[in-house]
Point group: C2
Chain length 492, copies 2
């Protein structure tokens, strides 16, 4: 594709000045419309070294109100970013609704920089393209407008620009040996870029290739594309078509539906269970050291009925873990700021790095449980969530070589009533029970249906659900810890 | 101080179990009270290697509801943290109101690790102690309860514990050569710790020295101190004495009050000014490269009357800056989350690293302007803010070797009215004017008084205010840019 571009295209000064003036005004207006309509926008500027990325960014941001955009220059990852999966740091930087995020270089540059020198680079790049397409599709499905630009110049043009920079004392130090090295590999890189661009050119996040020999031509092309795309989206928003709602290809559950029981088959005494638990806690302590030593991360998800005993279960399971190597993420309703972002972002942010155990006390499954039942989230959105969640979990396991253990704590409706009443009548526990718990209880059947569907559609091979029969709290604790220990053994 | 501790103290098992049970219950209750009363709490656990920091943290967090605490293990700073001033990363981690933040090691360990091997370590440590005391006092003044613990063991005890860990295959890898190295320097470190603890033992953030030979004794002492301190604070809160309000030692303005004029003395034509501006923009471009090359950060603050032209001024000033090397921080009302934190934190977060220019479009001075006039902030709080702001700016300049330029954009009341009317009658500008602007205008005199006091009390040698006569917009742009250029020259 890149070799088909006509790099001799130019724009004359008069036409340029006039067009630029007009475009800036239109982009200013568009920015306010995007804010009103709460549309998130992502602009990615990529290209060769010295192709004019900085200059293009410069012209765009000068038309924008600083209150509504963020600019990220993508450089080498920091240590913290390096120990997380590749896309983690970009998930943390997705645009909130109504805002524009501009990436001066992005995941594309990083992929090429980090993968293209590996012996198996073709396979790596294919894997990365798949990850990137999933990332971009998830954002687009959530309403994000994504525009990607690649600024193209010839090898000769690049050489002449680099030499020009070297000749200026102010910019000379920017032209490092590694930039010259990349220049010398221009011909090797061209087909790699080309292939990668093709693999990631999708209807929801298309590439625009920009002939960048002439600065003015390039800037106007970037501007015109941004304006056309945004005007189209804003018009669609007028017609109420703010979101892409294409029919989904559903991920098939990899197992037959998970059966739920609230009461264990095998009856053991409390003393027997406590004794077993103590032994398992010691075993867990040792396994935790090994996970830490081998830098393996583990996610543990707790979902379950109100009063099923999630908190107590977590306390027992972590009793002998090293607190510097695990953390509990208590999940409440999203904050105002979190509501402006893709719902998965607030969880991804807390994903563990190698050696850490992250325990989610409630989780992203809220999307297909409370948000579904309480109609907080429109049906197409939670319907789509099953696939998105499976993709996110797969991405974590694949990228971090970690494990995911998911618990559904099942209790009977009678047992829940008993526990609610106990809480209500015990001054030391009364704070644990709220009006909301009673309201949720009234919707037991609806929740039941949502739980069934969740277990059926998100119990995958890499991240299966475990139903924990929790009418007997001590049994539940033993079963949970035993499941975690088994998962840890498989990971080691 | 440390050598006065009786390290033979112990607690027997029966007493320990009973006391622990009781303490856990009380701490659980206290945590809910802190949340209700919105009291932020900071617990710092420091001590020798192998003194039991992890274990103490372990016992504390197990009594807490995970929804209300955060645990930070302080390790070597990341790259991002390293290029910021020393306390920056801890500012980002201060507890929000109603929450507990526990630091397993903290700024103290970092100071010793980073400073004590320098040739001028005694002077460095003294400087650090001053910075830390300011940091802790500012948090305490804002209502934060701060408790600091140092876990003390003898050299012999440390040796025996390290050998114990080495003998266990699970923990052997945790005992690194550098830990042994530190052990061999125990006797050198003791007086350094001792001195540093004394320098930072303040009424608002006292140290508790803990005899840590006996694990049980140490844990009970930590627990008892936390509970006693928090119970006292909760009781004080009952009496309405939630915040420390001691009389302040006021920072004296280092200059005579800054004079304000809205109109320039010297009248130049628009064309002359535009010509000058173009020349200055080119000069700025070059200076920006040099600042970048020498890794010098610069903060530029814009304050001024509504419609004084802040936005337009910023656009002209940045016209030829490299967008990858500067950013504009538009300051609006704090979010709900930001309101839960010390008001300075949301600005410190955006402070520039070496080579970056951060332009604040409105700033922390909102505390002594809008928050004062609109009575959003109680008088003792904004009165205290002058000193806090001076301290923060001094800390930035001192730690980052950077510069601060502060602009007050002055216009006359008549000029403001003219601009308001222009905006209201121009469909392209009408979005810029709101009801709030008119309301603020009615309080012109009160704002005037606040501005006078702000200029008088926060124009310091290291961060002086520049009044920019802005009735003439082009004059204002030239003056602002000229001031920035002069400041940059002084920094280079």
């Amino acid at each position: 594709m890149l070799d088909k571009l006509d790099l001799t295209k130019t724009t004359d000064e008069t036409k340029y000045e006039a067009a630029l003036e007009e475009y800036k005004d239109r982009l200013g207006v568009l920015q306010r419309t995007l804010r009103e309509k709460k549309i998130p926008t992502m602009i990615v500027i990529e290209g060769w070294n010295a192709s004019g990325i900085t200059m293009a960014v410069h012209e765009i941001v000068h038309a924008l109100d600083p209150r509504g955009y963020t600019l990220y220059k993508t450089d080498k990852p920091t240590e913290e970013e390096r120990v997380h999966p590749f896309l983690w740091r970009f998930w943390l930087r997705i645009p909130p609704r109504g805002r524009i995020t501009i990436f001066a270089r992005s995941w594309y540059t990083r992929v090429i920089a980090e993968e293209s020198h590996k012996p198996s680079w073709e396979k790596s790049l294919k894997g990365r393209a798949r990850q990137i397409n999933t990332f971009e599709r998830q954002l687009a499905d959530d309403g994000t407008v994504i525009m990607k630009f690649f600024l193209h110049i010839t090898k000769a043009e690049q050489k002449s620009r680099l030499e020009g920079r070297e000749g200026n004392p102010l910019t000379a130090c920017l032209v490092t040996p590694s930039i010259w090295n990349l220049h010398h590999h221009y011909d090797d890189a061209l087909p790699v870029f080309d292939d990668f661009i093709q693999k990631t050119d999708t209807p929801y996040a298309p590439w625009t290739l920009v002939e960048a020999t002439d600065r003015k031509y390039a800037i106007l092309k970037v501007y015109a594309t941004i304006i056309k795309t945004l005007e189209k989206r804003c018009e669609a928003a007028e017609d109420g078509k703010t979101r892409k709602q294409k029919p989904l290809e559903m991920a098939k559950p990899k197992k037959s539906p998970v059966k739920r029981h609230s009461h264990p088959d095998k009856v053991l005494t409390k003393e027997e269970l406590q004794e077993t638990l103590s032994q398992l806690q010691v075993e867990m302590l040792e396994l935790h050291y090994l996970l830490f030593k081998r830098r393996i991360p583990l996610i543990i998800v707790y979902e379950g009925w109100d009063a099923a005993g999630k908190g107590g279960n977590i306390t027992r399971v972590t009793r002998f873990m090293n607190p510097l190597g695990y953390y509990v993420v208590p999940v409440a309703a999203p904050t105002e700021h979190e509501k402006e972002l893709h719902y998965l972002r607030r969880f991804i942010q807390y994903f563990p790095i190698g050696g850490d155990i992250a325990i989610f006390d409630r989780s992203w499954y809220g999307r297909v449980l409370v948000e579904r039942v309480e109609k907080i989230c429109p049906e197409p959105d939670w319907q789509r969530a099953y696939q998105e969640i499976n993709e996110m979990e797969e991405e974590f396991v694949y990228s971090s070589r970690g494990g995911i253990v998911k618990f559904w704590l099942e209790i009977s409706k009678e047992e829940q009533l008993k526990r609610f009443n106990e809480r209500a009548s015990d001054p030391k526990k009364v704070y644990k029970i709220t009006e909301e718990d009673w309201r949720n209880r009234e919707k037991w059947d609806q929740y039941n249906e949502a739980v069934d569907e969740m277990l059926a559609r998100t119990s995958t091979e890499i991240a299966p659900w475990t139903v924990v029969e929790s009418d007997d709290k001590w049994f539940a604790r033993v079963k949970a810890l035993r499941t975690i220990i088994a998962a840890a053994h498989r990971l080691l």
